[in-house]
């Protein structure tokens, strides 16, 4: 290529904005803590030690799998200038499918796991395609349709595990247990095979974005969609592909949680930890850039685990970490230099 891409040259200059936004969010969060009668230094010390102390490290890594996964769900469309706000719905669709399929297969074991995960990926990918279809063939903005599609997915899943699919041996709203042989093998402590799978997916995105024609097209359409179309990139086909992959990764995350940790579909079990919103914020922090997004996802996952420790040690509610993350994103949105068509 004889011409350079300005946003690549500027990538290194974007890091400081991200860093000082994080710092500023901690300052604002500290003021909030002070005004509510808490000592910010004690709270933050508990936050850091909760995230990084050696005994908690496996927990942090286990928490990081879904957060990094949901970061990729948001980052890939973001890189192409699209917004997939339907990650939660796609996560639930994937988790539900992964909880149902093993119960109905005539065999168990490795093949059953692969088939369940593939079914979850395809189902969630197809659900995400609905939003892409709406925008491409009907002109419905994807950021609204993808968000609205969350509600039916979550509602129907909740209904299914409360009534037709309910595990009748318990009083909780959850589906029946998945057979032992159909569960993801554990590695160390809470870590299971899902973690290396997610690392592979993240690496695949890094490679795709940097080293392939598709990745170049992805970035080009993110910088300037009109120029990309003029340059011969088929935007509609790209949007379908991006949304299918994005939704598919959400489905993969759902299937890993169901097959590796919960062993069944628990109502609200996938959404209560806010993996989707956290991942979305991590992707925004890095502007969808692959390595940055993964780093931001790991950082936010560590913050959330630290938040659990903080809540235990200082009684400051752990949802504070979500406030800090939202403030970081807000500052980035306010102060990061805009990429415009003219640049």
């Amino acid at each position: 290529m004889s011409f350079t891409f300005p946003h690549l040259r500027r990538a290194h200059r974007r890091l400081p904005t991200a860093l000082w936004s994080i710092l500023a969010s901690f300052v604002v969060g500290g003021l909030v803590l002070l005004s509510t009668g808490n000592n910010p230094l004690t709270a933050y010390r508990a936050l850091v030690s909760g995230a990084l102390s050696l005994p908690n490290l496996p927990d942090t890594l286990n928490w990081a799998m879904p957060v990094v996964g949901m970061t990729l769900v948001a980052a890939i469309p973001l890189r192409a200038g699209m917004l997939n706000l339907g990650g939660d719905g796609q996560l639930v669709v994937g988790g539900l499918v992964a909880a149902i399929v093993p119960l109905h297969l005539p065999f168990t074991g490795f093949a059953a796991i692969i088939i369940s995960m593939a079914a979850a990926i395809i189902a969630a990918g197809l659900y995400a395609l609905l939003a892409a279809w709406g925008e491409i063939s009907r002109g419905i903005p994807m950021l609204i349709s993808s968000l609205l599609l969350n509600y039916p997915a979550v509602g129907v899943a909740s209904y299914l595990v409360r009534f037709p699919l309910r595990d009748t041996t318990s009083n909780l709203p959850q589906s029946a247990m998945i057979p032992l042989d159909d569960r993801l093998p554990a590695l160390v402590g809470p870590l299971n095979v899902g973690a290396p799978v997610m690392i592979a997916v993240a690496l695949a995105y890094v490679w795709f974005e940097r080293r392939t024609v598709g990745g170049l097209e992805l970035r080009l359409s993110g910088i300037n969609a009109r120029f990309a179309r003029y340059g011969g990139i088929h935007l509609a086909r790209q949007a379908y592909g991006v949304m299918f992959v994005s939704g598919g990764i959400a489905g993969l995350v759902g299937s890993i949680i169901v097959l590796g940790s919960h062993f069944r579909f628990i109502d609200d079990g996938l959404l209560a930890p806010s993996f989707g919103p956290t991942g979305f914020m991590a992707a925004l922090l890095a502007g969808g850039q692959p390595l940055g997004s993964v780093a931001a996802g790991l950082f936010f996952a560590a913050m959330q685990i630290g938040g659990v420790g903080m809540q235990r040690d200082t009684e400051v509610p752990r949802v504070l970490t979500m406030v800090l993350q939202a403030i970081t994103i807000l500052l980035i949105a306010l102060f990061r230099r805009q990429r415009t068509d003219r640049e």
């Binding site: 419905i140 903005p141 129907v156 935007l235 925004l284 994103i329 949105a333």
Partner: protein, 301 residues
């Protein structure tokens, strides 16, 4: 089936419509000055929370409404200043504000009231419902206006006010100019940034009212993420109406009706997990049926 469509249903429709209507009028105003306000959901949620705080500590519903108005105004400052002076990315700011509203209200719920999930207390005073006896005997109007809050009546009046402001006043002409051709408006001496800031902040007051109606209008309670997508449905109403306040109100009437139908279906025995999604499914169907006419950019940039 006959008692599914009763007058009571219409009354419930009007009740459910109020927050959505106020939010969509705010969305209309913002859209008219060229600010695509996707933060309606978060603004309403902040309003709902601080209405409960104000009512609980201030000892009156009026204090609750006042607290909601002030809180939403402050909360909206990043949007008003960010899209003008700072030239930030509108969509990112709105997404951040929605997540901030969700996190902040959950955090403050635990810090201020020491509970998670839902907070209800007899000390939260609800907004008084007007029961006008002189209207009582008029067949339909009597029942429709029975036991609605002043905010509901205000929201109906605001449909006309917003329409009149936009289409019959010099200020409205300038507002629309700022949205349609900001460079031309600037050239004619209209301060584009100032118009946008004032409009976004002014419209935020409507979201304060919407939030107060939500938490103090029917039951005095705050629960986490209680707006439950109403802000997004209001935004859909703005889009469907192409930023016309009268059509937006009509869309809100439809969405209020689907909300009321959902509640009605629940009362005849359908599980609430399914009835709760009625408004969203109908909204999606309506957008698809109405689609192909809107001209909205395909990518963020």
């Amino acid at each position: 089936m006959s008692n599914l469509f009763s007058v009571i249903l219409l009354q419930a429709t009007l009740q459910a419509m109020t927050p959505i209507l106020l939010a969509s009028l705010a969305g209309v105003l913002c859209a008219r000055v060229g600010v695509f306000n996707m933060a309606l959901e978060g603004q309403m949620l902040v309003g709902a929370f601080f209405a409960v705080v104000g009512s609980y500590y201030g000892g009156s519903a009026l204090a609750g409404v006042a607290a909601a108005l002030v809180a939403v105004l402050v909360f909206t400052l990043p949007l008003a200043l960010g899209t003008t002076w700072l030239r930030g990315d509108n969509i990112s700011i709105c997404i951040a504000l929605n997540l901030l509203a969700s996190g902040l209200t959950s955090f403050l719920l635990r810090i201020v009231f020491g509970v998670s999930g839902t907070f209800s207390d007899p000390a939260i005073l609800p907004i008084v419902k007007l029961r006008w006896l002189w209207l009582r005997n008029i067949p339909v109007a009597g029942i429709l206006t029975w036991a609605q809050t002043p905010i509901t009546f205000l929201s109906w009046a605001l449909i006309g006010v917003v329409w009149f402001l936009l289409f019959r006043t010099p200020i409205g002409l300038r507002l629309r100019g700022v949205g349609e051709r900001p460079d031309a408006a600037q050239a004619l001496g209209v301060d584009v940034s100032r118009y946008r800031i004032v409009t976004v902040l002014g419209s935020s007051l409507l979201l304060g009212l919407a939030g107060a109606q939500l938490s103090l209008g029917t039951v005095s309670v705050f629960s986490e993420d209680m707006t439950a997508g109403r802000g997004w449905i209001a935004l859909v109403a703005v889009m469907l109406a192409r930023s016309d306040p009268l059509w937006a109100a009509a869309a809100c009437l439809l969405f209020g009706f689907t909300d009321a139908i959902g509640l009605r279906l629940q009362s005849i025995g359908l599980p609430n997990q399914l009835t709760d999604i009625t408004p969203y499914v109908i909204t999606l169907i309506v957008i698809v049926l109405n689609s192909g006419r809107s001209s909205i950019r395909l990518r963020m940039r």
